[in-house]
Amino acid sequence: MSAGAQAPVIVAEGLSKRFGEREALRGVGLRVSAGELVAIVGPNGAGKTTLLSILAGVQRPSAGTVSGAGAGRAAGWAPQQPALYGRLSVAENLRLFARLEGLADPAGAVARMLAQTGLQERADERVERLSGGNRQRVNVALGLIAEPPALALDEPTSALDPGQRERLWEFVGGLARAGTAVLFSTHHLGEVRHHATRAIVLADGELLFDDTPARLIEQTGGERDFEGAFVAFLKARGH
């Protein structure tokens, strides 16, 4: 397991999650430092969304602990399907969550997020009328409104076209460069190679790999791209 040189902003130890008879996570532990861009990959049902939702405080683990850098929630949260009020405008959504977060200056936070997401001109537009890419930006902005040290993104680009994906990664890259730790799950493995500084591979709820994407390619030997290395890695471990 690798970790950044800086002090961790998220420390998860022995995370397990059980849904009835099914064990979605089995003793997963990780440390994430500020500015890291951590990709969580794995086949369907591997436990990626469960891990991210536990880190963001959406679900409680059956066992294990999560601690963050601050006193509040360990990470901001941007679910796969944008969690927004469609009949409210972009600014109204941001203002509502700024107030619910108890921020001292909600108007300032709204202005900051509008500027950061480049949605100033769409501020008064109802969310239900935005494109998928802009909705995802608002979705991410809501996860960031309280300036959390880490942000959990669940398949943020799954419903976006290539242009929208590229713009979102520019935005997310900017966040990481500014010091926010970003954890994201994805099935677009090319994104892992291009954008992630670290890859975590999950299968059947177990953490199988935690290092740089380049290291995974090295480990599988002979594979030229991350996707081939990922498939070979899982096959070698019986998945």
Partner: protein, 446 residues
């Protein structure tokens, strides 16, 4: 909670179709229920075939009763359509111009006057089962009423004849001799005659006749009373067992307002909570610790919003209806308590439904599906169904808030029993129960 409340009000204000539906639908339902309960059923169109000659009379106890008078009593209960023949009546029924036909035969007078056979009328029906049931029950009631009137005429005639027999004089009974001696006078006259008779067989005979005359006069007098009792064997005296008697029109108002309150509150609360889930915001709002909004706070906000909207609408309805129906405005404080308690209980039921449904449409459908039968069941009177079914209905009505809200509002508006306090406590307990169920429903996210 206030930020969520403000957000929901903004969303509500932007959902004009929803607001219009929530306002217009319950008002329309309320008006229909109010009209259905407060108005007597309309008179069915019935063809009348009167085959009797005009002005024909029936002789009863020496008095003449017009056949037309008997027919008029039937006409009074229906919307009569005079037709010339039975064939025409059948054609009108088949064409749907009338629901039924009553044929009064030519020989009805002769049969009744004979004193040995019943007069009869023929009734022809058509239409669906409901229409048949309606017209049949109205005609049966009309015929029964006419028969009662007729039997009273016979009883009066018979009583007159008995009186003439007892009292004598110039009786107005057909065939009676002038200055006839009355049966009640005979014992005294005989007593005088017997007193002047010497002892012997003749005197004994006269004494026996005198004893019989005394006995006959006494029993015939008693028969007159018995005839009066037969004319109306059972008299009805109405006494409400509990509380004040609620006038039908104000009870209809209470039903209409309760139905509207239920629909608005249940639909708003259920839809409001389901919308949070449908827009995937619930997880964002509730994630923690600490949560942006507690689960209890979220449920409380939805209940409060629904109860407030329902309260305003129901109060406006009461005020509006008050212009047409006499309501006691001095009780307005109690109205507010009843509406508030009812609104909160319906709101709690709504959030319980909303916590079960994953989307607004499913929540609305579930809310409609539950609310309609609840209102229907709460209005089923005891005695209308078997004991077992009524007990089941009563149990269902007890664990859902409609009947309790209806009783609370009836107590507040009409002073009916049980009192407002009992119903209000019942509603608050149900509010806690459904809010707890909604809380369990939300836990499914964890």
């Amino acid at each position: 909670m206030r930020w969520l409340l403000g957000k929901d009000l903004v969303i509500l204000a932007r959902s004009r179709l929803l607001v219009a539906t929530l306002v217009i639908y319950p008002i329309a339902i309320a008006l229909l229920i109010g009209l259905a309960i407060s108005r007597s059923p309309g008179k069915p169109k019935v063809a009348i075939v009167d085959e009797t000659p005009p002005g024909q009379t029936i002789s009863v106890g020496g008095r003449q009763v017009e056949v037309g008078r008997y027919a008029a009593q039937i006409f009074d209960q229906v919307q009569p359509v005079a037709v010339d023949s039975r064939a025409q009546a059948v054609a009108d029924i088949e064409a749907g111009r009338v629901l039924a036909a009553v044929v009064i035969p030519r020989d009805i007078a002769a049969r009744i006057s004979s004193g040995v056979s019943q007069g009869s009328v023929e009734v022809l029906y058509n239409g669906n089962a409901l229409e048949q049931s309606l017209v049949q029950s109205q005609l049966n009631a009309a015929l029964a009423q006419a028969n009662v009137g007729f039997s009273q005429r016979i009883q009066q005639a018979a009583a007159g004849a008995i009186a003439a027999l007892l009292q004598g004089g110039d009786a107005a009974v057909l065939g009676a001799p002038p200055d006839m001696i009355g049966l009640s006078q005979i014992p005294a006259r005989l007593k005088e005659i017997v007193a002047h008779q010497p002892p012997g067989a003749e005197r004994e005979q006269l004494e026996r006749i005198e004893a019989f005359a005394t006995f006959a006069a006494q029993n015939l007098d008693a028969a007159r009373g018995a005839l009066a009792a037969i004319g109306q064997p059972i008299a009805v005296k109405s006494t409400p067992v509990q509380g004040r008697r609620t006038p039908l029109d104000t009870f209809a108002v209470v039903v209409a307002v309760s139905v509207s309150l239920m629909f608005v509150c249940v639909l708003l609360a259920a839809g409001g909570l389901a919308l949070e889930r449908e827009e995937h915001v619930l997880a964002r709002v509730l994630r923690g610790p600490p949560a942006l909004v507690s689960r209890e706070g979220l449920l409380g906000e939805k209940i409060l919003l629904a109860a407030a909207c329902g309260f305003v609408l129901a109060l406006a309805m009461l005020a509006g209806v008050g212009a047409f129906v006499s309501l006691e405005w001095s009780r307005v404080g109690q109205w507010l308590v009843a509406l508030a308690c009812g609104g909160v209980a319906f709101g709690a039921l709504g959030v319980a439904i909303g916590a079960l449904a994953r989307e607004v449409r499913a929540a609305s459908l579930l809310a409609f599906g539950l609310a309609l039968p609840l209102a229907f069941l709460a209005l089923v009177p005891s005695g209308a169904v078997s004991h077992g079914v009524y007990d089941a209905i009563a149990a269902i009505s007890f664990v859902f808030p409609f009947k309790a809200a209806l009783q609370a509002l009836d107590a507040a508006v009409n002073g009916a029993s049980p009192g407002l306090g009992v119903s209000a406590i019942h509603l608050l307990l149900l509010s806690l129960l459904f809010a707890a169920l909604a809380r369990v429903g939300l836990r499914r996210l964890e």
